[in-house]
């Protein structure tokens, strides 16, 4: 019997950002950002509007090249020059876009099956089983798989998009405003769903959100983006201990936020 070797990636951070700077023309967005996210962590990225949260997220997934510095996922550069290696890295994370970004010409089933079919390794019967499994994971019923994206409600769009993001068994899930556009009730359900799935599948999560309940419900750690850099990074209490006008405004007085955190958890 072969002894199971320790999963090698466990020691490598899921996300590693080194000296990252971003400039659009003369406008500086980020200046020398350093950030490390160990596997299994749920990191919430917060910052005022225009502080470059979404830009940073786009740089993490390789949709945008930073002006300087680099982003590594699982120890590999996202923007590797070798297309083969780049594809390998991209297969290891899933992204949930703010509006879902479902392919409107494809049914729910085909949307979730799309990344699996792109692998060109699996037969249709296996893909069918996997799609139905993902649908069940996000608490949708098999009959929903025939619907087109235009026929779905906002909450269902998010669930289908989550199922699609999870279809390749990602080790990292990137969420852009996961609960934007959902009513508080649905948003709470969606947070519960995400936490359950995270416990079960053990993926790392990075998210950008404005919604305080989402942040307190999901994130185990926070990174605060202000003044072109990360001013605080750590657990809720550690972040609250940092004196910064944005943190003060965003979380209000420390006591209220702590009470809120306890209420949610």
């Amino acid at each position: 019997m072969s002894v199971p070797t320790e999963w090698s990636s466990a020691a490598v951070p899921a996300i590693e950002i080194r000296d990252l700077s971003t400039r659009f023309g003369d406008v500086v967005i980020h200046r020398d950002i350093n950030l490390e996210v160990p596997p299994g962590q749920m990191l919430g990225l917060v910052g005022g509007s225009g502080s470059g949260k979404t830009t940073l997220l786009r740089e993490i997934v390789g949709l945008l090249a930073p002006s300087a510095g680099m982003v590594k996922l699982f120890g590999h550069a996202v923007l590797d020059a070798d297309p083969q290696r780049r594809r390998m890295v991209r297969r290891r994370f899933g992204m949930l876009f703010q509006q879902g970004a479902l392919f409107s010409a494809l049914s729910v089933f085909d949307n979730i099956a799309f990344p699996l079919r792109e692998l060109r390794l699996l037969d249709e019967a296996l893909i069918r089983d996997l799609v139905l499994l993902k649908l069940a994971m996000v608490e949708l019923e098999p009959r929903h798989s025939r619907l087109m994206p235009a026929e779905l409600s906002g909450g269902m769009v998010k669930r289908v998009a989550l199922a699609r993001a999870l279809s390749l068994e990602p080790e990292l899930l990137v969420l852009d405003e996961p609960t934007a556009g959902l009513d508080p009730d649905r948003s709470e359900n969606f947070i519960k769903l995400l936490t359950t799935l995270q416990k079960e599948l053990g993926f790392t999560v990075v998210m950008v959100t404005h919604d305080r309940p989402t942040l307190l419900g999901l994130a185990t750690r926070l990174a605060v983006l202000a003044d072109h850099r990360i001013v605080a990074c750590g657990t809720m209490d550690e972040v609250l201990a940092v004196e910064h006008p944005f943190i003060h405004n965003f979380f209000g007085s420390g006591h209220a936020a702590a009470a809120m955190g306890q209420g949610v958890s």
């Binding site: 072969s2 199971p4 409107s104 296996l126 089983d129 069940a136 098999p142 994206p149 068994e169």
Partner: protein, 370 residues
């Protein structure tokens, strides 16, 4: 990452299978079908399964395992709690998707569906025309509401900006037509009749039809796509909530602009065609420009020009109507946008040519010199 591995141990008269390593989509040996066949073969021998050494099990590998077990739990199985949870999820996958409604005689439905769609489209178009008439009535009573800006923008986009391309096409067609006819006419010694031939065919027939095809492809498609995208992004709804009539502000200016621009484009395109023909006749048959220009008004009665322009007017309104009708029917998805745009262009070209045939029959006694 460790590759998924299978170890078999024969013990007494039973077979024990130990699975180890990472069982994930990325680490399963390829091709998966052969790997699965091996597992299935082991399952058929009533083996005892030991999954305790698996480091990571993801749903893809779980589905592969479950299928190889023949979709049931093996008699002897050792595994951790979380892996059991995952396999239980796999067990809950329904065996088949809910069937689509049966379509065995589906082909019988096709003509009926087409007829219904045609009636539906026709009704929509009639409603749109009715709305236009009401809008024009409203504008006559309230001239302040006339959407001058939109009208002039559309006139510029579908009229002025179409001038170069219509001139080019008309000019080239004129050359081709003149060149081909000259070859035929020469053999009969009827060179001078080139003026009659070109004049009548271009002014009366080719000019309007060419412009109709060009405008349908150029402006008709743009109008459908624009209205379609405005539907997708809810801009039309936003207009409605501000109390702005979509027919008055979006549809009417487009139709009127095309109705004004098309006759002028027809004259412009016909002129370019005649110039092209004249140049080709000069090169091919040494027919002087002076003779051509002198003869043209005598052999082509002015009625032909009026017929050509009224065709332009009617085609323009039809193209605008068809484009707006299909644009407003776009559903909020990309597929619908592309199919409605295609239908819009195909329909407007077909309708223009159909109406052209009607024109040919109705005006057969006008404008032909005897």
């Amino acid at each position: 990452m460790a590759v998924a591995s299978i170890e078999t141990v024969h013990r007494a008269n039973s077979l024990q299978v130990q699975l180890a390593g990472d069982w994930t989509l990325a680490t399963l040996p390829q091709p998966i079908s052969r790997f699965e066949a091996r597992l299935r073969e082991l399952a058929s021998r009533e083996a005892a399964w030991d999954l305790l050494s698996i480091a990571r099990l993801d749903s893809a590998a779980a589905v592969v395992l479950w299928r190889s077990w023949g979709r049931r739990w093996p008699a002897s199985l050792a595994l951790s709690g979380e892996h059991r949870l995952l396999l239980e999820r796999v067990e809950a996958i329904p065996a088949d998707l809910p069937a689509r409604p049966s379509e065995r005689l589906g082909w019988l439905l096709v003509p009926g569906r087409l007829a219904l769609a045609a009636v539906d489209n026709l009704a929509g178009m009639v409603a749109l025309v009715g709305q236009m008439v009401l809008d024009v009535g409203h504008l006559c009573a309230h001239p302040r509401d006339i959407p001058w800006r939109e009208f002039s923008a559309n006139l510029y986009k579908s009229g002025a900006q179409a001038l170069p391309v219509t001139a080019l096409i008309g000019f080239l067609i004129g050359i081709v037509l003149s060149y081909l006819s000259a070859l035929q006419l020469k053999t009969f010694g009827a060179d001078v009749f080139i003026v009659n031939l070109l004049g009548i065919s271009i002014v009366r027939e080719l000019g309007p039809v060419l412009v109709a095809v060009l405008v349908a492809g150029r402006s008709g498609s743009a109008m459908t796509a624009q209205l379609g995208v405005m539907r997708v992004t809810e801009e039309i709804d936003a207009l409605a909530t501000m109390g702005v009539s979509r027919s008055l502000r979006l549809v009417l200016p487009k139709i009127i602009a095309l109705a004004v621009a098309m006759p002028l484009l027809v004259v412009w395109c016909s002129a370019a065609g005649i110039v092209g023909g004249m140049i080709a006749a000069r090169l091919q048959m040494d027919l002087s420009y002076g003779f051509f220009i002198d003869t043209l008004p005598r052999v082509v009665p002015v009625a032909n020009l009026w017929i050509g322009m009224s065709k332009g007017l009617v085609f323009g309104m039809l193209i605008g109507l068809v484009a707006c009708h299909f644009g407003l029917r776009v559903k909020p998805n990309t597929e619908s946008l592309s199919s409605q745009t295609t239908t819009s262009v195909v329909t407007s070209i077909t309708v223009a040519i159909l109406v052209d045939a009607v024109f040919a029959i109705m005006t057969r006694s006008f404008g032909i010199p005897l």
